[in-house]
C-alpha cells in the first residue's frame, strides 16, 4: 500500500466522521440498549430454560455418547468425513491453517477495496465457510442419537427414592427388603448362603458412605457378592451406587435424620376397615418385596411381572389365579401367607411361599388381604370410595381348604 492510498482512506474516513455523530451519547446509547437486551435475554434463559441436569462424571461409564459444547460440534462433525489414517489432517492441519489464515487476513488481503460488491471472491469464500459450519452443526445435532433418559437426583429426596428403587431391583434377593439378610434362597450359585444384616447398627455405625459405595462397586467377591459398579463389569453407574448408599444411610442409620423436605412418608400401620390402593400402598410393598424377582429378565418367576398395575393383573403363567377379585384363594394371597400352591394331582409344590426366605410383615399381608377383598382398586380415589362401604367378609371355599392342611411348616419367620 502506498502513501497515496493511505491518504485517500484518511480523507474518506474524515468525511464519514463529519457526517457522523458524537460517540457520547449516540453510540453509547445504542451499545447500552443492546447490552441491556442481552442482559434480559440472559436472565430469561437462566430463569425459564435453566441448565440441563447431568449425572456426575463417571469414568467407568464408557457407554456415554460424548457431545462437545455446541460451538465445537461443527469440528466434531467435520472429522467424520476424514478417513482414519488422515485424522491428524482434520484435527490439526486444517484448523491450524484456518486459524493462521484468519490471523494473517489483513496481511495477504492488502487491497484497499472495502465495499462488499467489489470483494465477491473474499465474501463468497467466507460465506461458504460459515454456511458449512452452520450446516455441519445442524447435521451434528440431527444425527446425534438421543441420550437415554437418565434420572438425575437433584435433591436428597430424589436420591433416596432412586436408591430405594435400585435397592429393590438389585439387592433385595440376597439382602432382603430391609437389609436384614438371612439365608439366600432362589439365587443361582448362592443357594443357602447366609448373609449378615447390612442394616444393623454394627454395619451402619462402622461403614462410611465411601466404604458402602466401594463394597457395592467392587462387591465382596470372595464372599460371593458380585461387583455392581460398571468399572468391574456390573450394571450400576457411580451416581446410582451413590443413590443406593444414600437410601441405606437415610433409612437404616438411626443417627441420621432426613431433612424434613426429603422425608418419604412411611406406610401407615394397618387399621381395620382401611382400603389400600395400588398406587400408594400396594405398589410400594410390591416394589420392595417382590419386584426383585418379578421383573423382566428374571427366571423362575412363572413369567409373573409386578412392575405396574397392568402387569400385576395381566401377566404370569397363572394369570387367572394370581389375583381373583374378592377371593383370598388368589395365589398371591395364599403364597404371601405362607401356603405354597400344590399340584392337585401329585401334591408337588408348584409355587413356594412368597417371599421365599421370610414372610412379609403382618401389616403388609393385611394390606393385601383388604386390597384383594375390595377387588384391587388402582387409585386412591377408588380405594377411598370403597372405604365408605363395609368390607366384604372372606368366604373360604372348600376346594382350597382341602389343600391348606398339606402345607408343610417350612416357614421360619425371623430366621
Amino acid at each position: 500500500m502506498n502513501e497515496e492510498q493511505k491518504k485517500a482512506y484518511k480523507k474518506k474516513y474524515k468525511e464519514a466522521k463529519q457526517e457522523g455523530v458524537r460517540f457520547w451519547p449516540h453510540i453509547i446509547y445504542k451499545d447500552l440498549l443492546m447490552s441491556f437486551a442481552i442482559f434480559l435475554l440472559l436472565v430469561g434463559l437462566a430463569t425459564f430454560v435453566g441448565i440441563p441436569l447431568e449425572p456426575k462424571a463417571d469414568p467407568s461409564d464408557s457407554s456415554y455418547i460424548p457431545r462437545p459444547e455446541w460451538y465445537f460440534l461443527f469440528l466434531f462433525e467435520f472429522l467424520k468425513f476424514i478417513p482414519g489414517q488422515l485424522e491428524w489432517v482434520g484435527t490439526v492441519v486444517i484448523p491450524g491453517l484456518a486459524i493462521v489464515a484468519l490471523f494473517l487476513l489483513p496481511f495477504y488481503d492488502k487491497s484497499q477495496v472495502r465495499f462488499w460488491k467489489k470483494r465477491k471472491i473474499g465474501i463468497s469464500i467466507m460465506g461458504v465457510i460459515v454456511l458449512a459450519m452452520v450446516g455441519l452443526t445442524v447435521r451434528a445435532v440431527a444425527t446425534t442419537p438421543e441420550m437415554e433418559e437418565t434420572t438425575v437426583a437433584s435433591s436428597v429426596r430424589e436420591q433416596v427414592v432412586q436408591g430405594e428403587d435400585l435397592y429393590s431391583v438389585h439387592c433385595v434377593e440376597c439382602h432382603g427388603p430391609d437389609g436384614e439378610g438371612g439365608e439366600i434362597q432362589g439365587v443361582e450359585g448362592l443357594e443357602g448362603v447366609t448373609v449378615k444384616s447390612i442394616s444393623s447398627r454394627d454395619e451402619m455405625y462402622t461403614r462410611s458412605d465411601e466404604t458402602l459405595a466401594a463394597i457395592t462397586n467392587y462387591g465382596q467377591q470372595d464372599l460371593g457378592m458380585p461387583p455392581y459398579g460398571l468399572a468391574y463389569g456390573g450394571p450400576l453407574t457411580k451416581a446410582e451406587i451413590e443413590a443406593i448408599v444414600a437410601f441405606m444411610r437415610y433409612t437404616w442409620d438411626d443417627r441420621i435424620e432426613l431433612p424434613p423436605e426429603a422425608v418419604i412418608a412411611t406406610l401407615p400401620a394397618w387399621e381395620e376397615g382401611f382400603v389400600p390402593s395400588y398406587e400408594v400402598e400396594i405398589s410400594r410393598i410390591v416394589k420392595r418385596n417382590c419386584f426383585s424377582c418379578h421383573r423382566p429378565g428374571k427366571d423362575d418367576n412363572n413369567n409373573y411381572l409386578m412392575g405396574s398395575y397392568e402387569e400385576i393383573l395381566t401377566t404370569g403363567d397363572n394369570v387367572e389365579n394370581n389375583l381373583i377379585p374378592g377371593d383370598l384363594n388368589s395365589y398371591v394371597y395364599q403364597t404371601i401367607t405362607g401356603n405354597p400352591i400344590l399340584d392337585p394331582d401329585t401334591g408337588e409344590v408348584l409355587i413356594h411361599q412368597m417371599p421365599l426366605t421370610k414372610l412379609m410383615k403382618e401389616d403388609y399381608i393385611k394390606m393385601f388381604e383388604a386390597w384383594i377383598l375390595n377387588d384391587m382398586p388402582e387409585t386412591v380415589e377408588e380405594a377411598e370410595a370403597l372405604m365408605a362401604t363395609p368390607t366384604p367378609t372372606p368366604e373360604p371355599t372348600t376346594e382350597e381348604a382341602t389343600e391348606e392342611p398339606a402345607t408343610e411348616p417350612t416357614i421360619t419367620p425371623e430366621g
Partner: protein, 218 residues
C-alpha cells in the same frame, strides 16, 4: 462538589479522558456495530458471575459436582448466577463470532486496523478456550466425556500429539490434575491474557476510531 471534581480532575485528567474517549466524532453506524461492546459486556458479566461462582465451587473431582449442586439448590440466587454464566458463555461465542463477521464484511480489518484485527482473532480464540476449559468444571458426564474427546483430538497431532495430550491432562488420564489445570486456565491464565488483549483492542479502537460503513466507491 465542584471543588472536589476540580481537585480530582487536576490529578487524574478526567476532562481529558472525557474528551478523548467519550466526546469524539465518529461515523454513523448501524446496529451490527453494537456487537463489540455487547461482547465486552458479556465478558464482564462472565467475570463477575464467575468470581461469585468461585466462592462455592470446589475444583476437585470429589466435590465439584456437589458444590455446583449446592450453588443451584442451596445458595440464594445461585441458580441465577450460574444460569447467567452458563448461557453467557454461549452467547459470548455468538456475539464475538458475528462481530468478527461484521468486521470482515465491511473490510474493517484493512488499513489502519490490521493490528486491531489480530488482537480480535486472539480474543476469539481465547473465548473458545474459555468455553473449552469451563466446560469440564461442572464435572458431570457431559463435561467429562466431551473433554475426554476434546483432549484426544489435540493428541492426534503428528509427533507432538502425545506430549500435548499429557500437558493438557496432566498425565495420560483425565484426572483430578486435569480438573485443576483446566480450572487454573479458566480463572487465572486465560482471563489475564484476555484482559491484556481486550485493553489493547479497546485502545486501538479508540485511537483509530470506529470504522465507517464503506460506500460503493470504496
Amino acid at each position: 462538589m465542584e471543588n472536589a471534581f476540580k481537585w480530582l480532575d487536576e490529578r487524574l485528567g478526567l476532562n481529558e479522558i472525557y474528551a478523548e474517549v467519550l466526546d469524539r466524532q465518529v461515523p454513523k453506524v448501524n446496529w451490527w456495530f453494537t456487537l463489540g461492546s455487547a461482547s465486552l459486556f458479556l465478558a464482564i458479566m462472565q467475570g463477575v458471575t464467575g468470581i461469585f461462582l468461585t466462592i462455592y465451587y470446589v475444583p476437585s473431582p470429589d466435590h465439584a459436582y456437589d458444590s455446583i449442586n449446592y450453588i443451584m439448590n442451596g445458595v440464594q440466587f445461585g441458580w441465577l448466577i450460574r444460569g447467567i454464566h452458563h448461557w453467557g458463555a454461549s452467547l459470548l461465542v455468538v456475539t464475538v463470532f458475528i462481530h468478527l463477521l461484521r468486521v470482515f464484511f465491511y473490510g474493517a480489518y484493512k488499513y489502519p486496523r490490521e493490528f486491531t484485527w489480530v488482537t480480535g482473532v486472539v480474543l476469539f480464540l481465547l473465548t473458545l478456550g474459555m468455553g473449552f476449559t469451563g466446560y469440564l468444571l461442572p464435572w458431570n458426564q457431559r463435561s467429562f466425556w466431551a473433554t475426554m474427546v476434546g483432549t484426544e483430538i489435540a493428541g492426534t497431532a503428528p509427533g507432538v500429539g502425545g506430549f500435548i495430550l499429557r500437558v493438557l491432562r496432566g498425565g495420560t488420564d483425565l484426572s483430578a490434575v486435569t480438573l485443576a489445570r483446566f480450572f487454573s486456565m479458566h480463572i487465572w491464565i486465560l482471563p489475564a491474557v484476555a484482559m491484556l488483549t481486550v485493553g489493547t483492542h479497546l485502545y486501538l479502537v479508540i485511537r483509530l476510531g470506529i470504522s465507517h460503513i464503506p460506500g460503493e466507491d470504496e
